[in-house]
Structures are given as structure tokens and as C-alpha cells.
């Protein structure tokens, strides 16, 4: 009787550990997500600034793009289109990240609940054991 209860307890504890590591992983993912998002938001801001400046330029201005170690002369219209495309891409990426973040948070919450329940069960078991 005592051995069965103790083995059950051990099982529960194993489960708990597994869940805890899962939760840890999730939290790491979320943190990473946050970081990436931050990076993208900064880039978005920068691109928007560039776009504003490019819009203000007149057509015969010389625009260069730094490609590796060299400056390549670019058409203004081309540069403009590139920046716009980039902004679009970043916005889409941010949206995607938002989606995944929500997903992750949901998962995290459910994991937390599961862990809480497990802990309660373990406590109940231990209490029962103490009584016995």
C-alpha cells in the first residue's frame, strides 16, 4: 500500500518535472519572440524614416546603397520601391510574430494550469501519506 502510493508519487513528480521543462522551453521561446519583435520594430521605424527622406528627395538626387564594402548607385525610384517592399515584409513578419506569440502564451497558460494541478495532487498525496 505504502509502496504503491510512493511509486505513484514518484510518477507524478516525474511528470511534473517534464512539464516544468516544457514550460521553461515555452518561456524561452516567448523571450526570443520578444527579442525578434523588438528588432523588427526598430527596423520598421528606420525604414519608415528612410522612406520619408526618400520621398522628400527630388528626382535627380544621387542615391547609393551600401552593398558590402561598396556603395552602388541606385535609381531613386528603385530605392523607393525597395524600401516600401521591405516595410511590407517587416509588417507581415511582425504580424506573424504576434500570432505565434499569442499561441505560445496560450500554451504557456495551459502548461501552468497543468503544473498547478499536478502540484496539488502531489500535495494531496503527501498529506495522505503523512496521515497514514
Amino acid at each position: 500500500m505504502a509502496s504503491s502510493s510512493s511509486s505513484a508519487l514518484r510518477e507524478l513528480q516525474h511528470e511534473l518535472e517534464a512539464k516544468a521543462s516544457d514550460l521553461n522551453k515555452l518561456q524561452k521561446d516567448i523571450a526570443k519572440n520578444h527579442q525578434v519583435r523588438k528588432k523588427y520594430t526598430i527596423q520598421l521605424g528606420e525604414n519608415e524614416l528612410v522612406l520619408k527622406e526618400l520621398d522628400l528627395l527630388n528626382e535627380n538626387a544621387n542615391v547609393f546603397k551600401l552593398m558590402g564594402p561598396i556603395l552602388v548607385k541606385q535609381d531613386l525610384a528603385e530605392a523607393n520601391a525597395n524600401v516600401r517592399k521591405r516595410i511590407e515584409y517587416i509588417s507581415a513578419e511582425l504580424k506573424r510574430l504576434d500570432g505565434t506569440l499569442q499561441d505560445l502564451e496560450e500554451k504557456q497558460n495551459s502548461k501552468k494550469d497543468a503544473i498547478l494541478k499536478l502540484q496539488q495532487r502531489i500535495q494531496a498525496l503527501q498529506a495522505g501519506k503523512a496521515k497514514a
Binding site: 527596423q43 528606420e46 525604414n47 524614416l49 528612410v50 520619408k52 527622406e53 526618400l54 522628400l56 528627395l57 538626387a61 544621387n62 542615391v63 547609393f64 546603397k65 551600401l66 552593398m67 556603395l71 541606385q74 530605392a79 524600401v83 521591405r86
Partner: protein
């Protein structure tokens, strides 16, 4: 020492209906957070068995802290079930004869958390249980840390702004001459002397690897636009810091208050309240305008309106509950309008008058006047369409007052009705006077002066006209001097 006495709801209606006589002397107590002993300037027979009613409680600081503003102390003749053993009532003045008005200080001692039944009105819990002290402190600390972080960011941005300004100056100066002799960095450590030739050609990095050729002027424009962006960011950051600071102070205050044992009152928002508010504001406006002629611009204090609205709501509940106690309701209305949370009264002579009248009434013990005591206040209260109504109801009833017959059976209470009617008149003056005062400062709260309620009658119409405030004197002080 002083703690909140929080009594949430009225006694069950049935109990009150059973009472032989309806409540005769509503007593008004005002108190506030950290207030002094509550003062009460009314009535002769205070009973510990009375019922307290919260008339108004006010949400403070982001709707979390409730400050209980006023308690309506009903003198009950029947019940003694109210657990108010911890209230001590001391007469502030010992008068020579029983008949003169008594002023009591009501001291609530000990951690009295008295909760009467909560009928659909909300819940009362100790603040400490909602926000544990340590938690609040922790939160405050956390917010402080964030503030520090943000402050660092702000400094960073400030540095950027300074750099930008320097750059603008440099760019502006560069094309002044054709060439500049400069030291050109070569590798990490070496320099060699060189010469800047095209002083009006700039290759400006726009970000994201894009460069553009610009003249000095154009470059300055770009830089200035960037400076603007930076400033906007600084502004938003500052706003954020301000926000965090208020949050931190709130947490601090919560921690302190929780450790002091305040209570949290949570009430559900009900539609009727908003209705009341609108009604009330409509009602209050004529008052303000009518006050404008004898006082300098009456202020429509929103706070006041809200307070009044709450009072009104409770009143109406009362009214619905007990249709036989309207005179008290009216009495109460006038009481409410009469009282301000300010605690200081500016109308000194009037006070004197009223005190005098109080004395008169008590010494004389008038029973004679019975100008249909019930009806007029009731109507005034029920209609409530405008203060004009009140006035109309009040003025004619004022007439019989000078016909007071002296020396009738002492302690008799039939006078209430008349008192009410005349009081509506009296208190209106008070109210308007008060409302026009710079108003009620929410931070000030009730400072311990006596909230006085004139049960008395304006026997002399001249008194009324001359009873305009001369200088602000606490009524409490006044009475002391008067004696």
C-alpha cells in the same frame, strides 16, 4: 486610532417599518480618510443603537481606493442590533441646561470594521487582504526599477539630441570655406593630414544602407527632421516615466494604507446611478444660477454634483422603501445640500442665527406649529424638478414660525415638520453660499470642523437677508466662541 466604520447597507426595511415613529433626527456625520474624530452637531439624544448608513463613498486613485465620505447616522428608536459598541460619544460642550443644543464628538476607536449586510450594493474587505502589504511594496519597487531603466533610456536619447545638434552646427559651418585641413583617420590608430575638398557635398546615410548625396543645406534639413523624431521620442518617454511615477506612488500609498487597515469597498456600477447623475446635474444647475446673484459666480463643482448624486440615489432608495418617512427624507435633502465637505463655513452670522434659533427652539420647545408638516417637504422632495419648487414649498411654510408658543412640553418632537420646511429655505442659502466657494478640494477632506445642521427656523426674515457670510470661520470655532 481612528478607523473606518463601514456600514454597508440599511437595515432590512421591515425593521424600520415596525418602528413606532419614523426617524426624526437624521444626524449627519462626515469623516474622511485619516480624519479626526467625527463631529456631529445635532440632536440631544444620540443613541448607540442607531443605524449608520453610508451615504457616499468616493473612489480615489484609479478606482481602487474608496474613501468613505459620509455616514448618515439615523437615530433609531427601536433597534439596538447595530454593533456599534466601539463608538464613544462625548459632548463637546456641556451646556447648562438640557434644552440647548448639544454637540457631540463621535470617536470610533479600535479597528472597527463593522459590516452590515450587503444587499446587492457591493462588498467590503480589508484593503490588506486585496493588496497584501508586501506585495504592494514589491510592486512599488518593481515600478521604481522600471523608472530607473526608462530614465537611462531618456539620458541616452538626450545624448543623441546633443550629438545631432553638434552635427548640424558642423555641417552648417563646413561649406563656409572651400577646403578644410583635417586629420584623416587611417586605420585604428593612425592619422595623416589631409584636406577636405568638396565642402558642400555630403553623403548622408538615411539608414538601411541607403546613402544620398546632399548639399549642406539639405543635410541640415535631414538632420533637423531626425532631431524632431528624437524629441518626439523623448516626449513619449517622459510621459511614460510620469505614468510610472504615479503608479509607483499609488503602490506606495496602497502599501501604507493596507498596513493601516483600511477597507476596500467594491460596488457594482449600476445604470441608475448614471441616470441619477444626469438628473442631478440638471437639478443642480438652477441652484448655481440662482446663487449667482448673491454670491460671486457659483461654481458647478463636479465633485459636489457627484456627491449629491450619490446622496440622491440613496435617498430615493429610502423613499421607495418607506413612504412614511418622507419628512425625514426632505430633512435629509436639505441636510445634504446644507453640508459641504469643506467643513468650514463662511456664513458666520447665519450660523449664529441658527444656533440661536436652535437654542430658542429647544428652550421654548415649540410644539404648536403644525403647518401640515408632512406634505410640503414630501412634495418638494418627490418633485425635485427644480429648487424653485423647494423654495415655493419652503417659503409659505415659513410663515407660521414666528407664532411659536413658548414653554410647551419639553422634549416633544412634533416640530420636525416645520423644521423641515423652513430648513429647506435656510439650507438653500447655505448651500448656494457653499457651492460658490472655491469649492471642495478632494485632497482636503473633512478637516474636523463641525458639520452643523440647523434645525432652527429663521424667525426673522431680516436675519436671512443679513446673514450673508462676512468672513470664513469654522462653525466649530464659532460655536465655541458663541458660548
Amino acid at each position: 486610532m481612528i478607523n473606518y466604520v463601514v456600514l454597508k447597507e440599511q437595515k432590512p426595511k421591515t425593521v424600520r417599518k415596525k418602528r413606532p415613529t419614523p426617524v426624526k433626527y437624521p444626524i449627519l456625520l462626515f469623516f474622511a480618510l485619516h480624519s479626526y474624530p467625527f463631529f456631529c452637531a445635532q440632536d440631544i439624544e444620540l443613541q448607540l443603537s442607531s443605524h449608520f448608513f453610508i451615504l457616499h463613498n468616493r473612489r480615489l486613485r484609479r478606482g481602487l481606493l474608496l474613501q468613505v465620505r459620509a455616514i448618515w447616522f439615523w437615530q433609531s428608536l427601536a433597534d439596538s442590533t447595530c454593533p456599534l459598541a466601539k463608538v464613544s460619544i462625548d459632548p463637546l460642550h456641556s451646556s447648562d441646561d438640557n434644552s440647548s443644543p448639544q454637540v457631540y464628538a463621535l470617536t470610533f476607536s479600535g479597528p472597527t470594521l463593522v459590516i452590515m449586510e450587503n444587499r446587492l450594493k457591493g462588498t467590503v474587505v480589508p484593503l490588506a487582504s486585496v493588496f497584501p502589504v508586501e506585495e504592494a511594496q514589491k510592486a512599488a519597487k518593481h515600478v521604481q526599477d522600471t523608472i530607473v531603466d526608462r530614465q537611462k533610456e531618456l539620458d541616452h536619447l538626450h545624448n543623441f539630441v546633443v550629438d545631432n545638434n553638434n552635427l548640424v552646427n558642423l555641417v552648417r559651418r563646413l561649406p563656409d570655406v572651400l577646403t578644410h585641413d583635417v586629420m584623416v583617420p587611417f586605420g585604428k590608430a593612425a592619422f595623416f593630414s589631409g584636406r577636405l575638398m568638396h565642402t558642400n557635398e555630403f553623403l548622408v546615410l538615411l539608414g538601411e544602407g541607403y546613402y544620398v548625396e546632399r548639399t549642406s543645406k539639405q543635410t541640415i534639413e535631414i538632420l533637423q527632421r531626425r532631431g524632431k523624431v528624437l524629441l518626439a521620442e523623448i516626449d513619449s518617454l517622459k510621459a511614460m516615466i510620469d505614468d510610472l511615477k504615479t503608479e509607483a506612488s499609488f503602490f506606495d500609498a496602497t502599501a501604507v494604507e493596507a498596513s493601516e487597515g483600511l477597507v476596500e469597498i467594491m460596488e457594482d456600477f449600476t445604470e441608475s446611478f448614471s441616470d441619477e447623475t444626469s438628473n442631478q446635474s440638471g437639478l443642480l444647475k438652477p441652484v448655481g444660477s440662482s446663487a449667482a446673484d448673491n454670491m460671486k459666480g457659483a461654481m458647478e463643482d463636479e465633485e459636489y454634483a457627484r456627491v449629491m448624486a450619490r446622496f440622491d440615489e440613496l435617498e430615493k432608495e429610502e423613499l421607495a422603501a418607506e413612504s412614511n418617512e418622507e419628512d425625514d427624507e426632505a430633512d435629509f435633502t436639505s441636510l445634504m445640500s446644507h453640508d459641504s465637505f469643506d467643513g468650514h463655513l463662511s456664513d458666520e452670522p447665519q450660523l449664529k442665527d441658527s444656533v440661536q434659533q436652535w437654542k430658542d427652539r429647544n428652550t421654548l420647545n415649540i410644539t404648536a406649529e403644525k403647518p401640515s408638516p408632512k406634505n410640503s417637504p414630501e412634495q418638494a422632495f418627490v418633485n425635485k424638478s427644480s429648487i424653485e419648487d423647494l423654495k415655493l414649498a419652503g417659503v409659505p411654510k415659513d410663515k407660521p414660525i414666528p407664532v411659536e408658543k413658548p414653554l410647551l412640553s419639553p422634549g416633544s418632537r412634533e416640530k420636525v415638520g416645520t423644521a423641515n420646511t423652513s430648513k429647506t429655505e435656510v439650507t438653500k442659502d447655505n448651500f448656494t453660499g457653499r457651492a460658490s466657494k472655491a469649492g471642495y478640494d478632494s485632497s482636503k477632506a473633512f478637516t474636523g470642523s463641525i458639520v452643523e445642521h440647523t434645525h432652527g427656523l429663521q424667525t426673522d426674515p431680516l436675519d436671512q437677508t443679513t446673514s450673508q457670510p462676512s468672513k470664513p470661520v469654522s462653525r466649530f470655532k464659532m460655536q465655541k466662541v458663541g458660548r
